[in-house]
């Protein structure tokens, strides 16, 4: 293991995990969905014992390699730090550990987790923080790029690319993403892994284990001339060159110190072994530069979104507004509000893959940024189980199409005074026509006159709360039929 291998692995993981949040077609998830599922916190919340055990063993053998390779937020900070190092070389210094802060933050995190304050859990979860940054800041650029390709494809009569809507799914989440991005970016640019070694609960837990890891970077005092170069290049600020000691709870095993040391005094070995002289491989700066350049190019390759022209002979369509729901709607597979809020780390992966624009981060204080469903832009289509396939945290359990068609996440409610049968005096029945479970039937408005206009009646026992009726109801801005969520989902 050397820093070169570490960088290549990190680049691969980082790129693919990021792409998971960008790929709205869902093709990538079939191949690399596991990369989200091996993230520590989601795996822990999903009670994915195998993955957690594997990560614990990995840390006990190799140290916090997880933080340098698997965690996308960690790699993001490395990229920011690398840019910082370009501006000013040897910019880091050793600092004393803020152990009290680390354990206080971990304590707070555990309390939030147990108390069910999902918003705080989500805020501190590292992988999810990256998910929010990608889905809120980079995804629009990606989509605009895609839409440009779709535009060209349309010109060429090709159906390979299709355009996707870009819309702000949640204002608060967008703000959180911007702040996280700016604050972490600046911190990493100036001081490297400050966040990972003070705030991040995963960093604290793995740091505790890493103290006992089998392999570690070890300073050979016989070769060390105490030049301090390693300490000034340590992004974790964990090398105390004066005492020749390394704080392994903070070391993220980037192995940069090995490359920096001109005397070859640092080696990544089992501590008991003595150091022998081996040449440290040269860092392939070129490759790293290429990776970063590619990332930046993708981010800046933004294009203007196209708008669809409307013919003048078309009636204007008012946008639908979100009705006031007593209970929020959660996607099928969530089991219950309780299960969902306990597991979700608000990484936004489900929001990103939802092809029907149903899922978006909630604005409620307790569960800020955790997704919820609403049907003004689309409805939970019968053939789609995307969110349940991608969720790494067990908040949305995997379900198949057959199961989905029988999971009741809510039930439809008819609002008499909004229905076009009453307001416009026309026959309709669009809700009944699109109900996938046949829960709606049309009955004559006037019981004594079988030829009178028909109104919908709902059999709530058969309704699954998919929202087809709400979305396709002609009444605007408020539908005449809407879905109330259920706290506990039922299988009919």
């Amino acid at each position: 293991m050397n820093s070169k291998i570490r960088k290549v692995l990190a680049a691969v993981f980082f790129t693919l995990v990021t792409l998971l949040f960008l790929d709205f077609t869902g093709t990538l998830h079939a191949w690399f969905g596991w990369m989200a599922k091996i993230q520590f916190l989601p795996a822990l919340l999903a009670l994915n014992v195998g993955v957690v055990a594997l990560l614990v063993v990995l840390t006990l053998v190799m140290g916090r390699i997880y933080c340098s390779v698997i965690c996308p937020l960690g790699v993001f900070q490395d990229i920011a730090g690398w840019l910082g190092k370009k501006a000013k070389k040897h910019r880091y210094t050793y600092s004393k550990p803020l152990t009290w802060l680390r354990y206080a933050m971990l304590g707070l995190f555990v309390i939030a987790l147990v108390a069910g304050v999902g918003s705080l859990v989500a805020l501190l979860a590292p992988y999810s923080a990256w998910g929010r940054i990608v889905s809120n800041l980079f995804s629009p650029l990606y989509l605009w790029g895609n839409n440009l390709l779709a535009h060209f494809a349309e010109q060429a009569e090709s159906y390979t690319f299709y355009s996707a809507d870009v819309w702000i799914k949640g204002g608060a989440t967008l703000l959180v993403a911007i702040f996280t991005f700016v604050i972490l970016g600046v911190l990493a640019w100036r001081n490297g892994r400050t966040y990972c070694n003070t705030i991040c609960p995963v960093g604290t837990v793995l740091g505790f284990l890493a103290r006992f890891s089998w392999l570690k970077p070890v300073i050979d005092t016989s070769k060390c001339n105490s030049c301090g170069l390693c300490a000034r290049n340590c992004k974790a600020a964990c090398i105390d060159s004066k005492t020749h000691s390394i704080d392994y709870s903070r070391c993220v095993v980037c192995l940069d110190c090995i490359d920096t040391c001109k005397k070859g005094a640092i080696r990544y070995v089992h501590r008991a072994k003595s150091a022998d002289s081996a040449q440290a491989p040269k860092v392939d700066e070129g490759r790293r530069a290429f990776m970063t350049a590619t990332a930046i190019a993708t981010a800046t390759g933004l294009v203007k979104a196209q708008e669809k022209k409307l013919d003048g002979g078309l009636a204007t369509i008012e946008d639908k507004q979100i009705p006031e729901r007593t209970t929020p709607i959660l996607p099928p597979g969530a089991l219950s509000a309780r299960n969902f809020h306990q597991h979700c780390t608000a990484c936004q992966l489900c929001v990103q893959v939802c092809p029907n624009q149903v899922l978006r981060p909630s604005t409620g204080l307790m569960n800020l940024m955790q997704p919820e469903a609403s049907y003004e832009r689309g409805y939970c289509r019968p053939e789609c189980t995307k969110c349940s396939e991608v969720c790494p945290a067990g908040a949305i359990r995997p379900i198949d199409r057959a199961e989905k068609s029988s999971i009741q996440v809510g039930h439809a409610v008819w609002i008499e005074q909004n229905c076009v049968v009453n307001t416009d005096g026309v026959s309709c029945g669009n809700c009944e026509r699109h109900c996938p479970t046949g829960a709606i039937q049309m009955v004559p408005k006037d019981a004594s006159n079988p030829r009178s206009l028909k109104i919908p009646v709902i059999d709530t026992e058969r309704c699954i709360g998919c929202g087809a009726c709400e979305n396709l109801c002609p009444s605007r801005p408020f539908s005449a039929i809407y879905v109330e969520g259920h706290e506990v989902h039922r299988t009919l």
Binding site: E154, Y159, Y162, S163, K308, L310, D311, G312, G313, L314, A315, T316, I317, G378, R381, P382, E383, V420, D424, V426, S427, C428, G429, N430, R433, H434, L472, P474
Partner: protein, 451 residues
Amino acid sequence: MDKTENNGLDRRGFLKTLGAGIAASASLYGCSSEKKTAYGDPAVSDKAIGEMTYRESLTGDKVSLLGYGCMRWPMTKDENGKDIVDQERVNELVDYAIEHGVNYFDTAPVYLQGQSEKATGIALKRHPRDKFFIATKLSNFSNSSFENSKKMYEQSFKEMQVDYIDYYLLHSIGGGGVPSFRQRFVDNGIIDFLVKEREAGRIRNLGWSYHGDKETFLYVLDMDVKWDFVQIQMNYADWKTNDAEFLYRELEKRNIPVVIMEPLLGGRLAKLSDHLVGRLKQRRPDLSVASWAFRFAGHFPRVLTSLSGMTYKEHLIDNLKTYSPIEYLTDEELEFLEETAQLMLKYPTIPCNDCKYCMPCPYGIDIPAVLLHYNKCVNEGNVPKDRQDPKYREARQAFLVGYDRSVPKLRQASHCIGCNQCMQHCPQRINIPRQLHRIDEFVEKLKQDTL
């Protein structure tokens, strides 16, 4: 210029020694360029346009066989984003048409959201009044009182800046049968008024356009009014399968000139399925697909003019070539077109001509766009029967992606509530809600993969 294929092949042989397929394709390219004629694509060149064919009306007008339908003028957006007629392009098209002998212009007060008469008038005002014949209609659909109808008639003069109208039509007779006809034109006394206007010389020819059943057709034809012309829908697809032949023969019997509308079925006879395009092109590679339909329409001697709503100059040039002068169909070609019509029945397109009479749908659906997308997919073979169809995956992608491109989601068939308000407006008598629901069901099956 007398280089032959052989020379090309020789050179290919030579180039081959230099290597690989690039050289081969280059030599083929060289071959074709040597064969090119002096000017570019003959389809868009006006050099092949000869003398226009003219037909004579009862009043002695020499009318060009190609008539300009003013229902599809090019549109643009004004500063508020509203659709308006692109007057500059209209002027260019009108100038070009008149220059090449077209002299019949057919409009109506309701076309293009009410903008057609005025735009047509502006363009024609720039030409001497004796150079063109103007046709417009009494479109008293929503309010057929005498006062309102008379007002509409008088407004047409103002809009088009003329003091007489050459051809005046009772617009779209037939929908609603005889009672509706009597209510719109007879009981309110407007027909007597129009006959007097004809005597006064402000209407030179009085006639009607027709979409409906045979009974109403014969009723109006044989009523106590002398009709100078009648406008019917006629084309090779409708000839036998619909009533077109019957209508034409009845008019021929009575020696009434026939104006043809929809000779191209709103463009549908220009956009045939690949198989049919191949069939027509194989027979006459030099002729456009559309020209067959125009030759058919102009083939019959009692036809006065055949209307075409030409939005693009390329269409105008192509039609001018077809009719300048017309090359009459041989008996064998007539039979060939009848066979083509029979083959067309195998492609179950919806007979929408994109006339937009049904619009705007009060619930925001873009009805013609949905129907045209469906027809396009039928013709391109992208409407799979079931999942066993060997092209299923491709066709599904093409249908669904193309659907979202052609029609914004909120204007798609899934939003049709079946209020039936559009039905009475369709001159093709399509059961629009039923068709939209059928298409929506098909889309659902594609999306759910349960076809």
